[in-house]
């Protein structure tokens, strides 16, 4: 993942036939060559849409107590509800909540915590990585020692430590995930930026006496994007899995904002008595989410890495 695969821009001087092969078009067509990655992207897009429109499409609002009926607690998948207005396709939990609705709402929390923390970590990590590569010397070594230190501790341990101090809460989980993940971005960006900053275009930009921040953000950063996109995609999946794990352990999101992990955790005690669906279906949803993101990320790595090109 060293050199950039995207040339600066397509030359506009070239006589334009009906379809110019811009780098972006080439990238899109290469991406859709892989069937698994395409399926992954479609599934992931569907999940995002479900999460976005959960209040509109879910059979019930699982957190509106007026809509819940405790008599409907722990019903098997496929049972009609007490008022006979809709079917609990995935069963209900101990409070009589429709699991399908619960999963749709849980997906909102899981995806937003995962994506939110990944974006913030990316901003922090990429900035520090660029700074380390551009400044070099002492700044570089201080930042990279921090990165090494962070990466030598398992993510779960660092997150555990932070949440043990700060307590539960959505924002605390996001903060913990950012602290755990920024180092991956910093390392990736620094590695790429070190190679890129020796190229002629950076020298040219410096010779034009452009301000440093402009050189870094307008010239260096765009050329470090491909590996950053790959790491970012994978880290979203990791963040979602880690958030689910923390919530399962009871350290993550509060009970009022249940993510998929917390739903799984709620069903844990009923699992031993054979009421599998309370844990099983949220788990499947989590699984599909993580795998679809990984499929996309895995293929992005192949497409964006020029070294693997035939």
């Amino acid at each position: 993942m060293s050199a950039s695969s995207l040339p600066q821009a397509a030359t506009p001087a070239a006589p334009a036939p009906a379809k110019v092969e811009t780098p972006f078009r080439r990238f899109v067509s290469e991406f859709f060559e892989s069937k698994t990655a395409t399926v992954g992207l479609i599934v992931f897009t569907l999940l995002v849409l479900i999460a976005l429109f959960a209040p509109l499409i879910a059979p019930q609002n699982p957190y509106d107590l007026a809509q819940l009926d405790i008599m409907d607690g722990r019903l098997e998948p496929g049972t009609r509800n007490g008022m006979d207005t809709f079917t609990y396709w995935l069963g209900t939990d101990d409070q009589g909540r429709d699991m399908l609705s619960g999963i749709m709402y849980g997906l909102r929390i899981s995806l937003s915590v995962g994506a939110g923390s990944a974006i913030i970590a990316c901003l922090v990590g990429a900035s520090l990585g660029l700074l380390a590569a551009y400044a070099g010397g002492r700044t570089d070594s201080v930042i990279m020692r921090l990165v090494d230190l962070q990466l030598s501790f398992p993510s779960i341990l660092a997150a555990l430590m932070i949440l043990a101090f700060l307590g539960k809460g959505v924002m605390n989980v996001v903060l913990a995930l950012v602290i755990v993940e920024w180092a991956y971005y910093a390392r990736t960006v620094r590695g790429t930026a070190l190679v890129e900053r020796r190229r002629e275009y950076i020298e040219a930009a410096q010779c034009l006496a452009l301000p440093t921040h402009r050189v870094i953000f307008r010239h260096l950063l765009p050329n470090c994007m491909p590996p950053l996109i790959v790491v970012g995609t994978m880290q979203i999946a990791r963040a979602i899995a880690l958030e689910a794990t923390l919530s399962f352990l009871g350290l993550g999101v509060p009970i009022t904002e249940p993510s998929l992990g917390l739903l799984i955790s709620n069903g844990y005690e009923y699992m031993l008595s054979g009421k599998y669906w309370i844990s099983f279906y949220p788990g499947i949803a989590l699984l599909i989410t993580i795998v679809s993101i990984n499929l996309v990320g895995d293929h992005l790595r192949d497409v964006l890495n020029p070294r693997l090109k035939k």
Partner: protein, 324 residues
């Protein structure tokens, strides 16, 4: 070498010190130390006395020094819940965690190496492709969910294995171990497999990559040219060479296995350090949290130090680079 060792030891001590500051600040400055260190049942007079006795009326840096001094003497406070020294509490539970972590590591090697070997030798066969796809799942599935599924299938549906606890234990060297009894082994099987899943995938990938690389080496071609049997080439010439990176990485992973046992122990109610820390966080038994964090940090720094030292012993370039 001795200079390098000294420098490295100094660095490790520095990191440990930095972590102790972080833990101290986390518990004493972010949280309210009065609430953290004094039992909530205490009345006003007891409270005042305890604040004096614990030195909580002193400036923060003096408090830190006394915390550090106590920690160096092995005194990390008493658990509110168990009313025992926190350190002792954790050390009692350490054998269970170590047993689980080593069980998982052994399992990862036993399962991962043959599968990786097969996938490396026949990269095009459908079985190999299945193995490699399965290994992606091993990497991406959340451990706790796989644990739940294992319980659902093997404990609830099939009833083959017990779902929770350590089972029968035997006392050896003053510690209780369950891998020495049949019942204990039955209890160990599922948690160890659960904890091993990630590592199995890792070993499969490493072994496969190693095999594919080694098969192209001249000495393998030479061995074949000598007319050695396929079996001998693979198990003597190739196998020995791929084992070095595999064993190194698995050894390095031991620390993170111990850390991730937090999850597995919670799923299977395995009474180790990990379950203790989660329970302690949930009931805010902070002396235990502090003690656990300090111990685990110490463990990590020691593992990293040992790895670095053994690298530098094996590879002189590492020492020379550090001299500059």
């Amino acid at each position: 070498m001795s200079l390098y060792l000294l420098r490295r030891l100094f660095q490790a001590a520095l990191v440990m010190l930095a972590m102790s500051v972080i833990v101290f600040v986390g518990v004493y400055a972010i949280g309210d130390p009065v609430e953290i260190l004094i039992s909530p049942d205490a009345d006003q007079i007891e409270r005042e006395r305890a604040i004096k006795a614990l030195g909580l009326d002193l400036p923060l840096w003096m408090q830190y020094l006394s915390f550090l001094g106590n920690a160096l003497r092995g005194d990390l406070g008493r658990s509110f819940v168990f009313n025992e020294p926190a350190l002792q509490l954790i050390l009692q539970r350490m054998p269970a965690t170590l047993e689980l972590a080593f069980g998982a590591t052994i399992m990862a090697l036993i399962i991962g190496i043959p599968l990786g070997l097969y996938a490396g030798l026949k990269p095009k066969s459908p079985v190999s492709k299945t193995i490699m796809t399965a290994s992606i799942f091993g990497f991406s599935l959340p451990t706790f969910w796989v644990g739940l599924m294992l319980i659902m299938v093997f404990a609830v549906q099939l009833g083959w294995l017990p779902s929770t606890g350590r089972g029968e234990t035997v006392e050896v060297l003053g510690m209780r171990w369950s891998f020495l009894t049949w019942d204990g082994l039955r209890h160990l099987a599922m948690p160890a497999l659960n904890l091993a899943l990630f590592k199995i995938s890792l070993v499969i990938r490493l072994t496969r990559a190693g095999v594919r690389e080694t098969m192209l080496m001249d000495y393998v071609k030479f061995a074949r040219a000598k007319g050695l049997t396929n079996k001998r080439v693979i198990f003597v010439h190739v196998f020995k060479n791929i084992m070095i990176p595999v064993v190194t990485v698995v050894g390095l992973e031991l620390g993170s296995t111990i850390a991730f046992s937090v999850v597995t122990e919670s799923v299977f109610a395995w009474p180790g350090m990990g379950k203790l820390i989660i329970d302690s966080i949930n009931v805010l038994d902070r002396p235990v949290i502090v003690a656990y964090l300090m111990i685990i940090v110490l463990m990590f720094i020691t593992i990293n130090l040992l790895v670095d030292l053994s690298y530098s012993a094996l590879d002189p370039r590492v020492r020379l680079e550090n001299k500059q």
